[in-house]
């Protein structure tokens, strides 16, 4: 748009088509999107080689706004669609944008199996602790005792630790940060995309309009301040006594290991069997 100076991020936005975006005032999704495209700009990836896949939900609206190959799919199925894309064209960089409900409730099975296969997909999970698009129902990451429209007396269910889930399922790169830590997000996105294997980046975010109001979390800025003040790095956590780390968001790269990547394994298999004779 002529009114906006040509910053590098505007090269990556479909700014003449779909803006302003659908997200509410103060929603962290926009902040995360900014961090992601800054990371991609830093990496100088060819936009033709990036496929951004999403499911359904607030965060899943993200692909529409970016000028990549974008695929906005069904609720919970983003990782399964991404698996198809990646398997057929392994040279594409496949990034899945998903939310807590999309990825861990309806799409939980696809998450654990993609992690188990260690297929080279970068999952960026924006965790706002609620179903925002449908109006504030409890999600698997809604904290215990928090209020949601389907938990009007307080949530009695325990919440998911998504990073632990991904690590347990075999993801080879797992990191967590918050939307407030934009530079850290940018760096982790780069790390996650560069990692050859399944990578899960959980970005703790805020939903000021629905979750924030239901739970009296204050203004959008207050919610970001909460992220700033209530999160500590993994390194800091290890130094501090346990009582000081309780209830804090732990940021950092929680797991990184080298394990055979799935499309590589499949390429090996093809090489092996193609050496043999046809039937």
């Amino acid at each position: 748009m002529a009114n906006i100076p040509q910053k590098i991020i505007h090269e990556y936005l479909r700014h003449d088509k779909k803006f302003p975006h659908v997200w509410c005032a103060g929603c962290s999704n926009g902040i995360v999107l900014g961090s992601i495209i800054r990371a991609i700009a830093d990496m100088q990836l060819n936009r033709d080689d990036i496929v951004m896949v999403s499911g359904i939900g607030c965060s899943s609206r993200m692909p529409v706004y970016v000028d990549f190959n974008t695929l906005h799919t069904l609720h919970g199925r983003a990782i399964a669609y991404a698996t198809g894309v990646k398997m057929f064209k392994p040279n594409l960089k496949v990034i899945v944008i998903t939310g807590d409900g999309d990825c861990t409730a309806i799409g939980g099975n696809h998450l654990i199996h993609a992690a188990r296969r260690n297929i080279d997909i970068t999952v960026i999970l924006i965790n706002n602790n609620i179903y925002g698009m449908t109006g504030g129902q409890a999600s698997p990451t809604t904290p215990h005792e928090a209020i949601a429209t389907t938990a009007p007396y307080g949530n009695i269910e325990p919440d998911f630790d998504i990073c632990n889930l991904a690590m347990g399922a075999g993801a080879s790169f797992v990191a967590r940060t918050t939307a407030f830590h934009a530079i850290e997000t940018q760096n982790y996105v780069k790390e996650a995309i560069n990692h050859n294997g399944f990578s899960m980046l959980e970005i703790v975010s805020s939903c000021p309009v629905i979750y924030g109001r239901l739970n009296k979390k204050g203004s959008p800025a207050d919610m970001l301040k909460h992220m700033r003040d209530n999160s500590i790095t993994l390194a800091a956590k290890e130094k501090l006594p346990k009582e000081k780390t309780e209830g804090k968001i732990i940021r950092g790269i929680l797991k990184r290991d080298e394990r055979t990547e799935f499309t590589d394994a499949y390429a090996q298999l093809v090489k092996k069997v193609m050496g043999g004779k046809h039937e």
Binding site: R14, K17, K18, D42, M43, Q44, L45, N46, R47, D48, D49, V51, V53, P63, V64, D67, F68, N69, T70, L71, H72, T73, L74, R77, A80, Y81, A82, T83, G84, V85, M87, F88, K89, N91, L92, K93, N109, H110, H113, N187, K190, E191, N194, Y266, L269, V270, V273, M274, G276, H278, E279
Partner: protein, 400 residues
Amino acid sequence: MPTKIKKIAKPVEEKPVTPAKSGRKIRLMQGNEAVALGALDAGVNFFAGYPITPSTEIAEILALELPKRGGVFIQMEDEIASISAITGASLAGAKSLTATSGPGFSLMQEGIGFAKITETPCVVVNVQRNGPSTGMPTSPAQGDIMQSRWGSHGDSPAIVLYPDSVKESYELTIRAVNLAEKYRTCVILLLDEVIGHMREAVTLPDIANIRIVSRIKPTIPRHWYKHYDENQKYLSPLASFGEGYRYNVTGLTHDALGFPTNKPNEANDMMERLRKKISYNIRDLVQIESREMEDAKIAIFTAGITARAAKSAVAAARAEGIPVGLLRPLTIWPFPDDAVRKMLRNVETVIVPELNQGQLIHEIRRLTKDKQDGNLIPIQRANGTLITPNEILRIIREVH
């Protein structure tokens, strides 16, 4: 934090798939095997599936064959993931296929709707088994005829093919892949359990004699590309991911570029486009077999395995001098309205045998409103056994 920048050096390349060489001699072949070989000969280079009786042989054969030809086989975590993966792969340029049976087909419905609204070519093979629910996994039924048309929510047209022999399973699989590519939609191939597992002697045609259709690729510059171009009888070019046409695909109602829209006129355009690309091309889509219909006063209308019993009954009845004929749609959806109406014009009685509690008969009833109710005779059963030639013959004798 230092970050290594890994550039993508490898060029984007389509996976070539070498055609099947096996089986050109006459040989005994299962229906499911014929589907797998048909898929390979049609150029299918991506399969994702989940085990389910009675379709599993298709996955097993493709697991063996696809890697040998440079294609992709992947066993997914469920049927929902399978339809998702084949749709994703198709957008990346693959000719893709999955195979399942009733319970899995039910799970796939949302994904089939997605492939239809996004106009992404793919093929779903449904080897029908007895239902509802888990039903009888190794027993035949024709209970998915309506589901294959109306299974996914919202209005969407369907292309559904229905073979009645092993040879035809091979041919219609190729046709299903071709139609999917041409019409940019999810084409469904319905098989009966008995046909999937039946063995017949089949000679496959030479690969050189098989007509293969592939999607039209855009040749225009990126900025002119519309993912849903309105030209050419609604059959528009399709770019793959990685080819430089950075388009958006969404299951939301979308405009010609593929971006979500709520505008009634754009929504209308999209819905009409989905409908017209089938209805404007109905002559290309419809295939129907007619046997002994020239002078027939009694017609049997049926599809799939039940048509095999009907053919036998027709032959026997003709030997007794009864003027009976058979109509069998190879394409059951879109329903061959005009052809059926025309062929039933001089017929007094129509018998509709089917392995369900009445599905095909609704279409015939719709087309034969002018005939008395007593002239439309159902033979219906959903207990896991086939309708036999004798049962049909008995009815033919009764009405004669």
